[in-house]
């Protein structure tokens, strides 16, 4: 699988994603520059975390207008895989590749900690190595991750099964005490209708190695790698 990690000025998780794809999963990875108009033949495009262009206005607002986003949109329209993590998720909502909006955390503070997340769908190319209802632990680190949409739209998202991850208690229940950023319906990640574009606030790339004490995020990248080759590409080389 050829992977591209987009670098906006201000991206700061670009190298983290690169590291997991390249050194943990042994995939081919290139960086894509925000001014690029071609995706260099990548199968998967990752929009990483960070503060694209400083994000002084709203997370992802400026990056949504970057030249590379036109190419990402075209790639998504053709069914190519697009993964947005944290700031990348914000870029995807701001560019309307994903529904909803990510507003300031309800507590109005940046939050960095581990959260529990329930996998709502395990039939996506991103999640096939999880099981439905599985509860995993992932780090989050953001100030604007409060997912918001109109009630009617939220119902539509649920009906179309576009909610992929939710914040839950360690035992898997939805509970305001564990929905630390106040997201509507505890939504932590959504996909588009076709299921080839995924955005999530937690950082799977920060929990993909034994040495960090948590590997719950690795399966997300493995799912993609496996999808591309029908087997674990990391083992294949």
């Amino acid at each position: 699988m050829k992977c591209g990690v987009v670098v906006f000025p201000g991206s700061n998780c670009d190298h983290d994603v690169y590291h997991v794809l390249k050194h943990v999963l042994d995939q081919e990875v290139v960086f894509l520059w925000h001014e690029d108009t071609s995706l260099k033949g990548c199968d998967l495009v990752v929009l990483p975390g960070g503060w694209s262009y400083g994000d002084y206005l709203r997370g992802g607002a400026m990056a949504a207008l970057a030249p590379v986003l036109a190419a990402v949109r075209a790639h998504a329209d053709k069914g190519g895989f697009v993964l947005g993590i944290c700031n990348g998720f914000q870029v995807l909502t701001e560019s309307h590749l994903l529904p909803g909006a990510l507003r300031r955390n309800a507590g109005l503070r940046f939050e960095c900690r581990d959260v529990w997340v329930r996998v709502e769908r395990a039939d996506l190319p991103f999640t096939r190595r999880y099981s439905e209802g599985q509860v995993i632990r992932m780090p989050i680190a953001h100030g604007e991750g409060n997912f918001e949409h109109f009630a009617g739209e939220l119902d539509r998202l649920e009906a179309a099964r576009q909610v992929v991850f939710r914040y839950v208690s360690p035992t898997g229940e939805i509970d305001p005490a564990w929905n630390f950023n106040g997201s509507a319906r505890a939504i932590a990640g959504v996909c588009n209708e076709a299921g080839n574009v995924l955005g999530l606030m937690p950082h799977p790339e920060r929990c993909a190695e034994e040495v960090l004490g948590n590997k719950d995020g690795l399966a997300l990248f493995e799912s993609l790698a496996q999808g591309a080759f029908g087997r674990l590409a990391g083992a294949a080389r």
Binding site: P9, G10, N12, C13, H15, D16, H19, V20, G49, G50, W51, Y53, G54, D55, Y56, R109, F110, E111, C112, R113, P139, A141, G143, H203, E205, R206, A208, E209, V211, L212, G213
Partner: protein, 735 residues
């Protein structure tokens, strides 16, 4: 401002800018004439306490600064130490105390920005930060908003940069009511051979300016940092600098990329005293001269005078000496990252600074006498008059109810969990954080190797106040102990020496004694000082802060696979108490926080015992049998055990041969370790070999903390302690 309206240069003006009469005369002597306004401004900045270290220099010489791993000691932008596998660690700590008191958010943010530039200007990629904070009482005026502003400022800047803040310390004490401390530490890593220095060279090489434009912000920040606070400080408000972490992030990437072009001779950030200190210091280190054409300096607003340009502290700016003919290579990189580049001058032969603006020579001065030749003072030193009373042995009441005392201590902001703070800092970005904030030392992975770097920051200002020599020793010893608990060998330290007004003999005494104590401990424990910072004049309305020599230490963990945690993780581990208690309560949390007494001699620091304890841990940790190690600090054994059980909610049952009161004694060189059951003999044998008193006292397990001590008993649910400990700080902040 035009020349016509510029103030007359004379002694009163020189005084206003912080020069003494002698210093002004010295400057006139150097020039052989009356200085221009620009020259006066430059000199007042270079000779300020902040830039020249004129009061502290004589004592800083006492620190050991070399060692087999040290590639660069004090004198550069940051220290450089080898950490193995071809990597070096580059680190430094800086204070931003006064700016943070005036405007906490921007003050703290730009403090972080400044220390990061110090590190990446050396060619290293910053990978971790610590912040050491001291606040006053939370009900002192403005204090809650100062805490909030400082924490947000540090968080927003570091988080945007994508550099994890993995630890730090936070203290509260009335001596900081009017003068808080914000000390920021940054660590970068680089390949050994890729270190850059700020040493200008090569006649005719162009001097480039990159980064943000210059505005009027922060003019005379260095002088402000060298002045005590009073009602007048309010008027200095316009000197507040505003941080732009996004620009710093692209500046970081562009600098590291440009350093790979082989077109850069020297590079230096513009920190305190902006363009002045950066260009003068670079030239002084290289023994060359320079010429600046200020008409080419990129400005945020038109009409800045030469004086303002030379002294502006606008943030996120760097100066580069490029190889002649290759500057375009450098410029291309910066432009690609959306940054401005301007050639503002060149290196000249000789040793003079020539600064031209609008066709007029604004400054023409010798460089070395202004930098290396800055005034040095041996200021009067005298112990405080009330020292004997301060050190008088206090009476120590018995705790009627040891559990009640423990709970009361855990509920103070001083000893409560600092999670409310560090949760606002991204501490997992860069995917290297093996042990984040919350334990003894933070540990980050050196990617591609089995090795970790351990970091900690420590000082006990109350000990330093009661006995600065012991306090200085204790800060270093505690840092070594914190590192040892992760199995790390210390490789170097950096410091931030925060003190009051050096013109008071008792403050200089505190300074001298603290530095001596630190130096003794560094020698005994084998830790070189590779960089640091001095912050004096931390005084408001005549009241000095407690002496606060913050120590940040870096260590190497050879193999992360064996690392213990600082809390209990599994039941059935044998708990071993290391070290000896001497029932020491001078300056203790027990007396200070529960009985309002701040008196006595602080716990003695037996450097030999500290060295033996550290060696024991460093030898046994790699065996994989030490699963938990946590040292004792404020609050003694009881608080340390509470922390060790709260960490993962794993209880413990112990029986210790101590009087109930001594559960709170703060004797040094002590720790609790949890050993794999079958390995106890082996561990005790090692302890004996190292001469470390070791006593098996119980085991981990259950969900309660049970401590029996000479008939008294603490028996409590860990969950209850956790609740008290985690809620205390947000509650005290009124959240």
């Amino acid at each position: 401002m035009t020349t016509a309206t510029q103030p007359r240069v004379d002694l009163p003006l020189a005084r206003e800018l912080g020069l003494s009469e002698d210093e002004y005369a010295r400057l006139q002597g150097l020039l052989g004439r009356t200085p221009t306004l620009t020259e006066l401004g430059i000199t007042s900045a270079l000779w300020s306490e902040h830039c020249s270290y004129k009061s502290s220099k004589v004592y800083l010489k006492e620190f050991p600064t070399s060692g087999p791993r040290v590639l660069q000691g004090p004198g550069e932008n940051a220290g450089v130490v080898e950490v193995g596998h071809g990597w070096v660690a580059v680190f430094k700590m800086e204070s931003h105390n006064h700016p943070s008191y005036i405007e906490p958010y921007q003050g703290a943010a730009t403090g972080v920005g400044g220390i990061l530039r110090d590190v990446f200007t050396m060619g290293a990629r910053p990978v971790a930060m610590l912040d050491a904070l001291r606040f006053g009482r939370l009900d002192a005026p403005r204090m809650r908003s100062l805490v909030d502003g400082v924490v947000r400022g540090i968080g927003d800047y570091g988080n945007c940069m994508g550099i994890p803040t993995v630890g730090g310390e936070t203290g509260f004490h009335p001596s900081y009511d009017g003068n808080i401390l914000v000390n920021a530490f940054a660590l970068g890593i680089a390949r050994r051979e890729r270190i850059f220095k700020a040493r200008a060279a090569g006649t005719g090489n162009p001097i480039l300016y990159v980064g943000s434009r210059t505005g009027r912000d922060g003019i005379h920040g260095a002088t402000m940092a060298s002045d005590a606070f009073d009602a007048e400080s309010e008027k200095k408000k316009p000197t507040v600098q505003v941080g732009d972490p996004f620009t710093e992030k692209v500046l970081l990437e562009a600098c590291l990329e440009a350093m790979r072009t082989s077109a850069i001779v020297a590079i230096q950030d513009m920190g305190a005293a902006g363009l002045t200190s950066s260009v003068f210091e670079m030239a002084a280190r290289g023994g060359v001269g320079f010429r600046l054409d200020l008409d080419r300096v990129p400005l945020r607003e038109p009409g800045l005078t030469a004086y303002e340009m030379m002294l502006s502290e606008s943030q996120e700016r760097m100066v580069i000496v490029a190889k002649r003919g290759k500057q375009e290579e450098v410029a291309r990189v910066f432009r690609r990252w959306g940054l401005e580049v301007a050639t503002i001058g060149e290196v000249t032969s000789g040793s003079r600074a020539e600064i031209v603006h609008r066709g007029k020579v604004e400054a023409s001065m010798p460089i070395a006498p202004l930098t290396d030749g800055a005034p040095v003072y041996q200021r009067p030193v005298a112990p405080p008059a009330d020292l004997a009373r301060r050190q008088e042995a206090p009476s120590v009441p018995e705790p009627g109810d040891p559990l009640g005392a423990l709970e009361a201590l855990l509920a103070t902001p001083e000893l409560a969990s600092k999670e409310w703070i560090f949760r606002q800092y991204d501490h997992t970005v860069r995917t290297n954080t093996v042990a984040g904030p919350g334990g003894d030392a933070a540990v980050i992975l050196l990617k591609g190797t089995p090795t970790g770097l351990a970091l900690t920051s420590d000082v006990n200002p109350v000990y330093c106040f009661l006995d600065p020599r012991t306090g200085g020793r204790q800060a270093v010893a505690e840092a070594v102990r914190n590192l040892a608990c992760a199995g790390a060998e210390p490789v170097g330290l950096t410091d931030c020496l925060n003190f009051g007004n050096p013109e008071r003999p008792e403050i200089m005494w505190q300074f001298r004694e603290c530095v001596r104590g630190m130096a003794e401990a560094c020698r005994a424990l084998g830790v070189p000082v590779v960089s640091g910072n001095v912050s004096l004049y931390n005084e408001t309305e005549g009241r000095s802060i407690h002496p606060t020599p913050t120590v940040a230490m870096v260590g190497v963990v050879p193999d992360l696979g064996d690392m213990p945690a600082s809390h209990f993780r599994r039941p059935g581990r044998r708990l071993v108490l290391l070290g000896t208690d001497r029932g020491e309560f001078g300056g203790s949390a027990y007396l200070r926080l529960l009985h309002g007494v701040e008196q006595g001699r602080p716990p003695a620091v037996d450097l030999d015992a500290e060295a033996r304890l550290a060696r024991l841990l460093r030898e046994t940790v790699p065996w994989g049998i030490v699963r938990t190690a946590h040292d004792f600090a404020e609050g003694g054994l009881a608080v340390a055990l509470a922390e060790a059980t709260i960490g993962a909610g794993m209880g413990a049952t112990l029986n210790v041969p101590l009087a109930p009161r001594d559960l709170f004694s703060e004797s040094q060189a002590r720790a609790i370790v949890a050993i794999l059951p079958g390995q106890l003999e082996r561990f005790l044998e090692a302890a004996e070999r190292h001469g470390v008193p070791a006593l098996e006292v119980g085991e981990s397990g259950g969900d309660r903390l049970v401590i029996e001590a000479d008939g008294a008993r603490i028996d409590v649910e860990v969950a209850r302690l956790r609740e008290i400990w985690t809620n205390a700080l947000p509650a005290a902040l009124g959240l």
